[in-house]
């Protein structure tokens, strides 16, 4: 892992994007010598409107309180945002993208000019609809992000998320989320 990873989440208000960033921070916060930050975009929000959320994950204490402008990772939780918002803004050569989409990567590359940057995809809506009965993409997207960053292994991640979600959700819903995580880990793919 780099000294500091900055993540920018693109989603729509109501999709649980801020919760996703917070969950990401929450599960990683217990790791030795890892510092985390999760915060929403400091903008206006209306349900369905495009929004941003951010994470910083670092080996040293995090002091910055500005938004993320040069992300190491960009996560897009709604496919309809492609071509609508500038998901490539501030991307560096080694920045990679994780998208909730059913599109083929070649189609994505046609729509958005991301050069040769790495793209991972996951059909998070289908997974969430199958396993949770609702097209809420946040848990599968967090899971896919943990998988591709290798920040935590599946077993440990599930333990952590069980605690994290357990604070708010009924145990059967938590278990449904465990299925979601298994599938996201399996189904996220590069290119």
């Amino acid at each position: 892992m780099k000294e500091t990873i900055e993540i920018r989440w693109h989603g729509r208000a109501g999709q649980g994007v801020v919760t996703a960033a917070v969950t990401m921070a929450d599960v990683l916060s217990s790791e030795e010598n890892i510092y985390v930050q999760a915060f929403p975009e400091f903008g206006a929000e209306k349900r369905g409107a495009p929004i941003l959320a951010f994470n910083r994950i670092s080996k040293k204490p995090i002091r910055s309180h500005s938004q993320v402008y040069y992300p190491d990772i960009v996560v897009v939780t709604d496919p309809s945002l492609l071509g609508m918002v500038d998901i490539g803004s501030g991307a560096k050569d080694d920045t990679f993208f994780l998208m909730n989409t059913t599109y083929d990567v070649s189609l994505i590359r046609e729509r958005v000019s991301l050069g040769e940057k790495k793209i991972y995809t996951l059909d998070a809506y289908t997974i969430a609809t199958d396993e949770l009965g609702r097209a809420i993409p946040n848990v599968p997207m967090v899971a896919a992000l943990v998988k591709v960053t290798e920040l935590m292994d599946l077993k440990k991640f599930k333990e952590k998320i069980r605690i994290s979600l357990g604070k708010k959700l009924r145990s059967e819903v938590v278990e449904m989320n465990m299925q979601t995580i298994d599938r996201a880990f399996k189904e996220v793919k590069e290119g």
Partner: protein, 393 residues
């Protein structure tokens, strides 16, 4: 047990509230401080706190409840932001005038119009002459630590003056960070038992609170009220030290970052100071002698101490997250510039207003400020004493 927890700024304040468990908590929720009030209500409903939770019909009433409860002899707190603090206005002066040690968490937010829910310091800066002690926090940890210390400062027998603790709206209130939450009992022990002075509920010693006082004695009483805040500096210092001894994080009136051999200095408060530290590190690696001074206590303002820290700088930029229409500069700037007046040799000094309504400030902006300071130091002239950062004009 002391533990690391991932909390946002509002939750950090709420944790401190749970641990301190004041006698009366009166608040009317307003963005971005709502989650503090909401969490307190939940603690109360879950039986985790014993204090009375009062949710009145407005912030004016919330502060009135605080004043009544504090006069009765209770340890009292509230939380608000922006227009909510403004609606408390006349009651703020009464709380301070009656020397009631009320503690308020203020989630700093801009003032309307136009309506904006995001972070700047216009709300508390507007209250700077109300007689309250003002302490500002850089991050979630500081918000938690400052809030705990606030009770000790407010309730000290030499002080007995209300204290507000500021944390930046959204930038801190809604930003989740890892903070050290200290052991419940240790926090309770640190804050200690509250000893009310002249409580109204002590019916064997009857008191009049808030009587009329005209031209004959108002002036003398007003003057004597000031003693609380005038007595507060050594108390603030001692409490910050003791907090450091106990919990390992010491606090003073301000923090100096890489100031040892600095020739240029950026002065900025609250959350932006964290971002500024990253900028200072970059500037230092480029060989530039730039440091940061982050004021923590704004009232009472530590004029002398800050002037001593800055007097040998070549150039200083003071950044305010607030404008002061018609004034010579924004509040932090005028305080600091005035403090330097008595020094024959003093730095060139400029004022930048930044971040109104939550407009972001990033590392690049601090680096631009530093390069302007370099130019000022080189030429010895200030072309623009007052300007803006990251503003479209």
């Amino acid at each position: 047990m002391s533990a690391l927890k991932t909390l946002n700024g509002n939750q950090s304040i709420a944790e401190a509230v749970r641990q301190i468990d004041p006698d009366v908590l009166a608040a009317y929720p307003i963005t971005p401080s709502t989650a503090i009030v909401e969490t307190i209500a939940k603690f109360k409903a879950d039986g985790m706190i014993t204090g009375e939770f009062v949710c009145p019909e407005s912030e004016h009433s919330a502060m009135s409840v605080c004043i009544g409860a504090a006069s009765a002899g209770g340890r009292v707190m509230t939380a608000t932001a922006s227009q909510g603090l403004a609606l408390m206005w006349e009651m703020l002066y009464i709380a301070a005038g009656l020397r009631l040690p009320i503690v308020a968490a203020i989630v700093n937010r801009s003032m309307s119009a136009p309506i904006n829910i995001h972070g700047d310091h216009s709300d508390t800066m507007g209250a700077r002459d109300s007689g309250w002690i003002q302490i500002y926090s850089e991050n979630c940890q500081e918000a938690y630590d400052n809030f705990i210390q606030a009770f000790r400062i407010a309730e000290h027998l030499d002080v007995r003056t209300p204290v507000l603790v500021g944390l930046d709206g959204f930038i801190i209130s809604h930003s989740m960070e890892v903070i050290q939450v200290e052991d419940d009992d240790e926090v309770k022990k640190f804050v200690g038992e509250y000893m009310p002075l002249y409580p109204l509920l002590d019916t064997s010693n009857k008191m009049t609170v808030g009587p009329i006082d005209f031209t004959d004695y108002y002036f003398e009483h007003k003057r004597s009220q000031l003693e609380g805040i005038e007595n507060s500096p050594p108390v603030i210092e001692a409490v910050g030290k003791e907090f450091g001894q106990k919990f390992g994080r010491e606090y003073g009136f301000f923090e100096e970052y890489r100031m040892d051999d600095a020739e240029l200095c950026i002065v900025v408060m609250s959350s932006a100071a964290g971002t500024c530290k990253d900028a200072i590190d970059e500037l230092r690696s480029e060989g530039k002698k730039v440091g940061l001074l982050k004021p923590r206590v704004f009232r009472p303002f530590p004029h002398k101490k800050i002037a001593e820290a800055l007097k040998e700088m070549k150039a200083v930029a003071v950044l305010d997250r607030c404008s002061s229409p018609g004034a010579f500069g924004a509040p932090l700037f005028t305080e600091i510039r005035s403090g330097l007046y008595d020094y024959a040799e003093r730095p060139r000094i400029v004022n930048y207003v930044y971040g109104l309504g939550g407009r972001d400030i990033k590392v690049e902006h601090f680096k631009e400020v530093a390069s302007k300071l370099e130019k000022i130091a080189e030429t010895g002239t200030v072309e623009e004493i007052y300007s803006y950062i990251n503003l479209r004009e």
